[in-house]
């Protein structure tokens, strides 16, 4: 028996060819109809130019889609997915060949002995992987698949159903293969699924084998088309959409989405509405993200807001939007009207809970974007005047005084005790500008970081100055809290002040200012974070460190989100630490691009969010678990949050925190001690 043709067989008096042709046409039409309906909201969405740089996009497809780059970050789930995905790719040829067999009696499937062995094991691996995955969902129930009631519903039932369908597909394929092999008295690859089934079918008469073959074929075809048309109804849609989601994924992650694509900043005043207020205010790519989310929960598993019981869980931000889209753009019936999202789909607390730390985006295997969506939703709230009371005062102060504390502009340089030259308006010139930013200028505790920075720069022989009263807040977090217009005012003010000094480079000790100057500003000289400056000066030998006096201290480095995850500066701060003789350093389990946010910077310091525990407290405990008793950070906001957290956690005396600038200034071998700056440090 060669490949007996299901096309030529009869199923309940109907000829196979007719039956399968009808199934294929109906199934394909049904799928096309559903997909057309799914595309409907995308056509009404905001524009989003994603058609440029095809090579970079193809590279992303290769890395994140074909090679599943981010999956192994979760070893078990990642391996299971890799097996299923690889199996699908291998079995795709086979699946289409099988479909053709249903309508053509003369078709000979492509492939050869090698492919036959490969696909037998691929089907076996997929079957085993979906079984383990389903058991994992049913029995092990990993925490990240749970759904707390206020946020949304869990999708484990959906997931298990999908896994079941895949298992049926693999079994059907196995039945077809094994019944045929038994009839032909042909052996099959050892211990493959088909081989196992063949053992079971060994004693069946030829007529039974023939029926098994035809039955398996029908089951395969029905399951195939059922799956096809069922996928656009939930998490399983990513099978189709992931390729597009990854191709069109945001390439410049460090840049925030503009208020409206294609509208120059000077015309923004004429734009009627800012941000996302209704579903249709999202861009088409952001809607595509909603479809593509596989509900794997990695984003929420990494999200610090979710970890401390805030109202936000990024996974539900997406799945709730997908549910909304399916409800308002139904497969049968007409599209509904846009209702405001915040207040219905999302709570205000949910939207203000995000610290924009970026942990979710860094983890998502499908490159779903979150920060732009959160900022867009905030822009919408700001535009409607829905800003938490606690944030209104600092925002007003930023507008009037250029800092969130409402302190006088002329006191902005007081931290330096007159030891640092003021460049703007002072007639002094320098090569380098130290951009201090508000917290380091005005906060009593953080001013010490400013003085440490100044002393390091002096010691390294850098000719530098500050803007003094002419400096305004960098506006980094003003922008991320959705106040774009105020951000523009701050940025323009600073840009003009910086350019008027004629400096050739900028340094800063504040990662938020660094990120703003580097990515949100466009017409300023290049900027470096002080950790980069120190690392370079250590390499050139201009900065050397004294051995550490306290040998019992164990240090750990906490990656600030806007230095590490957002700007990939992981190694320079560690290099500086490791250059201090006698410094013992351990890593926390969550470090580098999995670092855990301290609680957020800028305006986040003014905004108390409802939570079970502070993020900082979590982080301080992580440091203790790693065996450290000194945390080193390189961000003023981390310092504020960690020092508070140590007190809240009752760990005073057991844990200390120091900024990298302070530690470097303290350990630096001083050639010529400047008494003025010496006095200033501490």
């Amino acid at each position: 028996m060669q490949y007996p043709s299901p096309a030529a067989a009869t199923y309940w008096l109907i000829q196979g060819r007719t039956l399968f042709a009808t199934l294929y046409i109906l199934g394909t039409l049904c799928f096309c109809w559903i997909v057309a309906k799914r595309l409907q909201p995308l056509l009404r969405a905001q524009r989003d130019p994603r058609f440029d740089r095809p090579l970079e996009r193809l590279r992303n497809v290769l890395q994140y889609w074909l090679l599943q780059w981010r999956h192994p970050r979760y070893p078990l789930a990642g391996t299971l997915h890799l097996l299923i995905f690889a199996g699908f790719l291998i079995l795709a040829v086979r699946a289409f060949a099988m479909l053709i067999l249903g309508v053509s009696a003369t078709f000979v499937p492509p492939g050869g002995p090698a492919y036959d062995i490969l696909r037998a094991y691929a089907a076996t691996a997929v079957f085993a992987a979906v079984t383990v995955a389903a058991l994992r969902r049913l029995i092990a129930k990993p925490a990240r698949y749970q759904a707390p009631a206020p946020l949304g519903k869990g999708r484990s039932a959906d997931a298990i159903f999908l896994l079941g369908l895949i298992a049926i597909l693999m079994l059907a394929d196995g039945v077809i293969e094994s019944s045929l092999a038994a009839a032909q008295n042909r052996s099959l690859p050892l211990v493959s699924l088909a081989w196992l089934l063949r053992q079971a079918f060994a004693s069946r008469p030829p007529s039974a084998l023939h029926n098994l073959y035809l039955g398996g074929y029908l089951l395969h075809a029905l399951t195939f088309f059922f799956l096809l048309c069922y996928r656009p109804f939930g998490i399983q849609f990513h099978v189709e959409t992931s390729l597009f989601s990854i191709y069109f994924a945001k390439l410049d992650r460090e840049l925030l989405k503009p208020v409206r694509w294609g509208i120059p900043a000077e015309n923004l005043d004429r734009v009627k509405s800012f941000g996302v207020k209704t579903f249709e205010d999202f861009t088409w790519k952001h809607m595509l993200d909603f479809y593509s989310c596989a509900d794997c929960g990695r984003c929420s598993d990494q999200c610090p807001a979710n970890a401390v019981g805030r109202a936000l869980s990024p996974r539900f931000l997406t799945t709730k939007a997908r549910d909304y889209s399916f409800r308002h753009y139904p497969v049968v019936g007409s599209a509904g009207n846009g209702t405001p999202l915040v207040g219905n789909l999302y709570s205000e607390g949910e939207i203000w809970s995000c610290t924009t730390c970026g942990a979710c985006e860094r983890e998502c295997p499908l490159l779903v974007e979150y920060i732009d969506k959160i900022v867009d939703l905030r822009r919408g709230l700001v535009d409607d005047g829905r800003v938490p009371q606690a944030l209104q005062k600092p925002l007003k102060a930023l507008e009037v005084r250029g800092n969130p504390y409402g302190k006088l502009e002329r006191k902005r340089a007081d931290w330096a005790n007159g030891d640092v030259s003021v460049l703007a308006g002072g007639g002094t010139h320098a090569d380098t500008l130290y951009f201090v930013d508000s917290i380091t200028s005005y906060d009593d505790r953080i001013q010490a970081i400013g003085r440490a920075t100044a002393s390091i720069l002096s010691e390294a022989g850098v000719h530098f100055g500050i803007l003094g009263a002419a400096e305004r807040d960098s506006g980094h977090d003003v922008r991320r809290f959705g106040e774009e217009t105020l951000f523009f005012a701050l940025r323009d003010n600073n840009t003009q002040a910086i350019r008027s000094t004629g400096v050739r480079r900028i340094v800063t000790s504040d990662p938020h200012a660094y990120n703003a100057l580097k990515h949100d500003y466009s017409e300023v000289p290049p900027v470096e974070h002080m950790s980069q400056v120190i690392a370079r000066e250590v390499r050139t030998g201009r900065i050397r460190f004294e051995p550490l006096a306290n040998r019992s201290a164990i240090y750990t480095y906490h990656d600030p989100c806007y230095l590490g995850r957002h700007n990939r500066i992981f190694d320079d701060p560690r290099y500086v630490l490791d250059s201090i003789p006698g410094l013992k350093r351990v890593e926390m389990s969550r470090c580098r691009d999995r670092s855990f946010c301290c609680g957020g910077g800028g305006l986040a310091l003014f905004h108390e969010v409802k939570e079970d525990e502070r993020m900082g407290v979590r982080r301080v405990r992580m440091a203790a678990e790693a065996g450290a008793n000194v945390m080193v950070t390189a961000c003023p906001f981390c310092m504020v949050n960690m020092e508070d957290a140590i007190k809240v956690a009752g760990m005073e005396g057991k844990m200390a925190v120091i900024d990298l600038m302070e530690l470097a200034a303290q350990q630096m071998v001083r050639q010529a001690v400047s008494p003025a700056l010496e006095r200033g440090v501490n």
Binding site: D383, K393, L395, K396, V400, R401, G406, E483, T485
Partner: protein
């Protein structure tokens, strides 16, 4: 319902470091940032919430100098429909009664169902609302922390009374209410909002436009004159509680209860 909200500018306590001048009869006003008196924003928000629910208009009026048109403008950015500036050289130095006289002249020339003021000016004496009501012969309620419109030209209003209790009253329209700050959460006004109303002209009315007898307003007519400003001498310092945590909590409870804080 047509609602008038009286608002004005004060030195912003959040954005200034307030210091006395050398003569000691005023604060140092160089370098000061002025903003709309915070309680007035609650009055505007209350008015906006009423008109959003039942329709009508919100007019914001301010008594001040020629440059004070930014007060009604800011409240228009918040959503108020009209803004008016009452400005005249002869208004300068008016006491509360003088301000109420100016406002009364404006109200008499228009029609409003309801007049709201903030609970008090941050540098003021919480007197204009009551005086205005008396001059207009309207009913008045102070410290209002809830407003509900009932049929038949009445409002049901809640007032905050001592010890955190609340009383409910019915009050006939037209009336004057001074609005307590807890009543709502005033909406945020960003730079974009201000920019969008920047070019709207704010009508300015002077004494003759209002048909005001200038002898009744200004410094000469003021019967209350401020004669001194001083910083009160520092009292006793903070008291540090010592002991173990449960003991500290016990002591704290005693102190709060002793001061009448636990009813």
């Amino acid at each position: 319902m047509d609602i008038l909200v009286c608002a004005r500018k004060v030195p912003d306590t959040a954005e200034n470091e307030i210091e006395l001048n050398r003569a000691g009869n005023d604060i140092e006003r160089d370098d000061l940032v002025y903003s709309v008196n915070e309680p007035d924003n609650y009055a505007v928000e209350a008015a906006l919430q009423i008109t959003e629910k039942i329709g009508g208009s919100v007019t914001v009026v301010t008594v001040g100098g020629e440059e004070d048109d930014d007060v009604p403008r800011r409240e228009m950015a918040m959503g108020a429909h009209h803004g008016v500036l009452l400005a005249d050289e002869c208004f300068q130095g008016s006491d509360g009664r003088g301000i109420a006289t100016i406002l009364k002249a404006y109200v008499r020339r228009n029609h409003f169902d309801l007049i709201l003021t903030g609970v008090q000016g941050e540098d003021g004496a919480a007197q204009v609302g009551g005086m205005l009501a008396a001059m207009l012969d309207y009913p008045f309620a102070s410290l209002v922390n809830s407003i509900e419109v009932v049929d038949g030209g009445k409002l049901r209003i809640g007032r905050e009374i001592e010890g955190g209790s609340r009383e409910m009253n019915e009050i006939d329209l037209p009336c004057v209410l001074s609005i307590q700050t807890g009543i709502n959460e005033p909406r945020y006004v960003g730079m974009r909002g201000i920019r969008q109303v920047a070019s709207i002209p704010i009508p300015a009315l002077d004494a003759s436009d209002l048909g005001l007898d200038t002898a009744l307003v200004g410094a000469a007519a003021a019967r209350v004159v401020r004669i001194d400003y001083f910083v009160p001498p520092a009292g006793d310092g903070a008291r540090m509680l010592t002991g173990r945590r449960p003991e500290i909590a016990g002591q704290l409870l005693e102190i709060v209860a002793g001061k009448g804080g636990l009813n």
